[in-house]
Symmetry: C2
Subunit: 112 residues, 2 copies
Amino acid sequence: MSKNCLFCKIVKGEIPAAKVFESETVLGFKDINPSAPIHVLFISKTHTNDISELSIDPTALSDLFSSLTEYATTIPELKDGYRLIINKGPRGGQSVFHTHIHLLGGKQMQGF
Amino acid sequence: MSKNCLFCKIVKGEIPAAKVFESETVLGFKDINPSAPIHVLFISKTHTNDISELSIDPTALSDLFSSLTEYATTIPELKDGYRLIINKGPRGGQSVFHTHIHLLGGKQMQGF
């Protein structure tokens, strides 16, 4: 846990969040400022600053991604697809320095 | 390998690509239609259709992500951050059904 981390406070229950998924190790909750009809964040409960730190832990990384993709199979609006976004560092648009995956869906995402 | 997969053909050298990273298991190459000053795709050489399939293989998933984040540390324009995007399924904007991570950088990404 990181003392002043917003998402660690959500994990500890010190700050409320609209949870959509919870396991022993992973939490999913709604983004407070949604960019799509479905916009949730998935995090590992254990603190890492960003994706480069999480990437070197195969178990935690796979646990996070497979929790998210399993969750998505339970949501009819995500059946035909969704987009995952991970911002790394200030120039990537990362605002909370606890690794998180944005899951966006419920509409047709444009290809690029 | 999947016979008619575009990215498997790049792995096999049957279709050219502007490679930026290669290991025994991972390939990084420039997107042919870039959406940012830096826009490369990272793939596992072994075929999976999408992120839900790759997520359950901790070794391959971690290998792919850590190859990407290590590569990013070698590019000065990515030092202060970048964005990763993974499209899952047609409604997520996935157009090639070989799991790939878009790495976008070289400019300030907007938060959301």
